[in-house]
């Protein structure tokens, strides 16, 4: 199924008023995207709904370079409105790099979540885990549209 409210522009599409990139994978539960950036390394960032539900970001912290992370476990913490919560890793891997720019200016993750506001690079991620993520354009746009609709219906996000 293709979402009726979707307009395509290269890898970026608009779904229910949000910009979503189709050149990467998504993990629905953690609201994180995963994108291969170099051989053996993937980049991880918050998807637009992860940003929206977090509120205005005040602080971010990450695991140290070299630390192992596991799927479903925190690779860092996010603070917004005095609420500290885990940044949940969508995949396993070793922290290869953290985004110093977003640490210095957490607002970058709000302004450009799919680009300069990336969070960490992980190395050694299991290909099987990547294969479990949402990856095809239809999967991504359908899931995103459904989630936006559900969140709006429940009042989680504004109309």
């Amino acid at each position: 199924m293709t979402n009726g409210n979707t307009t395509r522009n290269e890898s970026l599409v608009e779904v229910r008023g949000y910009q979503v990139a189709l050149d990467r994978l998504y993990h629905a539960d953690s609201h994180m995207w995963v994108k291969p950036v170099r051989p053996g390394e993937v980049r991880v960032g918050l998807d637009p709904l992860g940003v929206e539900t977090s509120g205005t970001l005040a602080q971010l912290s990450f695991a140290n370079v070299g630390d192992q992370v596991a799927p479903g476990r925190a690779f860092g913490q996010l603070e917004a409105a005095k609420f500290v919560g885990p940044l949940v890793s969508p995949v396993s891997g070793t922290v290869a790099r953290v985004n110093d720019a977003v640490l210095a200016d957490p607002g970058l993750a709000e302004r450009d979540p799919l680009g300069a506001g990336w969070l960490v690079d992980l190395s050694g991620t299991d290909e099987v885990e990547l294969a479990r993520l949402l990856g095809s354009p239809d999967e991504i746009t359908d899931w995103f549209a459904r989630t936006v609709d559900e969140y709006r219906l429940k009042g989680v996000i504004a109309e």
């Binding site: 005040a58 602080q59 919560g85 996000i157």
Partner: protein, 347 residues
């Protein structure tokens, strides 16, 4: 926010009473581990037997005047919830509501509002005409009366707050490491205005909080106690919370170019400098309430005009500060650069 389920029909209520400063933190963190592992939603109360200082999870240890704390015998701990460095003592009754993460809104602001609203009801039931304002502060008039923070510990969400029976504004200011007496005086002035104790009876507040949270969550309040797992977690947390690495906090956090102190949501004080110009200013909403300027080498075109520049800044929005200060020559431009260093976003 009624989410009654057969598995979670009970609101466990634990009154820890008066405990050590360390335990006033580790006990409720242990509850969060328990709730995460399947214990029922829990409302807890605790009062520290002795004063101490507590940092929000992300805040830098150097925001605290460690020499003062050592001299005064104030331990410093770090909590797993947000907010800044605060002074706590036996005149504050703390409450914590802890729920499985899946039972609160995924939107943090909504979750916070949902879990602070019953506390608001408790204040009102205890005779305090409190409001939950748009900045998510529980207030009476313009002053906040409840210091709150929130966090997710494993799979449990916890929101903490306090009933401030008396508040030592001087000590709450003294625990902060601040760059100069001008900023310290301004922080104290703003804290006296924007942070107030409430005259409510703590027992009445506590009873009302139990009723309000049980009602809002659709649960039946039952007195409870820590489980064996939670008691073991307390021991581990005691060790963790007193370790140097935990107290030092997470690495890699930015040091803002300006020293900023949040008084309450929407109210903050900052000190910043650029070349010879130094600014201490208080901000209410997005406007400067009061600015104090100093230069080490006043330029000719500003000489004698610093007080005029200060007066000109009162009520000016931060966005318009550079334009106003541009009228005060080269030093005015330095002051504008100092202003630009402060944004309050990390508070």
């Amino acid at each position: 926010m009624s989410r009654r389920t057969p598995e979670a029909a009970t609101l466990r209520v634990i009154d820890f009473g008066r405990v050590s400063a360390l335990r006033s933190q580790t006990l409720w963190h242990a509850v969060a581990h328990g709730v995460s592992a399947g214990e029922p939603p829990t409302l807890s109360f605790v009062r520290p037997a002795e004063p101490y200082v507590c940092l929000g999870y992300h805040r830098r240890l150097d925001e605290v005047d460690q020499a003062y704390c050592t001299a005064e015998g104030l331990p410093i701990y770090r909590r797993m919830v947000g907010g800044g460095p605060v002074y706590l003592d036996a005149d504050q009754l703390f409450f914590q509501i802890c729920l499985p993460a899946g039972s609160v809104s995924p939107a943090r602001t909504a979750a916070l509002r949902d879990l602070l609203t019953p506390a608001l009801g408790a204040y009102r039931a205890a005779g305090v005409a409190a409001e939950l304002d748009d900045n998510m502060e529980i207030t009476v008039g313009e002053a906040k009366i409840c210091g709150h923070g929130a966090g997710q510990v494993e799979n449990a969400v916890v929101v903490c707050g306090n009933l401030i029976e008396r508040f030592d504004h001087e000590r709450a200011t003294s625990i902060l490491r601040l760059p100069d007496p001008t900023m310290r005086a301004e922080v104290l002035r703003m804290m006296r205005r924007f942070v107030n104790p409430t005259p409510a009876d703590p027992e009445e507040f506590q009873r009302a909080a139990v009723e309000a949270y049980a009602g809002a969550l659709g649960l039946t309040a039952e007195p409870g106690e820590l489980t064996e797992l939670e008691r073991a977690a307390v021991e581990e947390l005691d060790e963790q919370f007193t370790s140097e690495s935990w107290i030092a906090g997470p690495q890699g956090r930015r040091r803002p170019p300006a020293r900023e102190v949040k008084i309450r949501a929407g109210v903050w004080v900052f000190a910043a400098e650029h070349e010879d110009a130094r600014v201490v200013a208080s901000v209410v909403g997005d406007s400067v309430e009061r600015a104090r300027f100093r230069t080490s080498t006043p330029s000719d075109d500003l000489y004698g005009d610093l007080r005029a520049a200060e007066a000109a800044m009162a009520g000016v929005t931060l966005a318009k500060a550079p334009a106003v200060l541009a009228g005060f020559g080269s030093t005015g431009r330095q002051l504008a650069a100092a202003f630009a260093a402060a944004d309050g976003k990390s508070l």
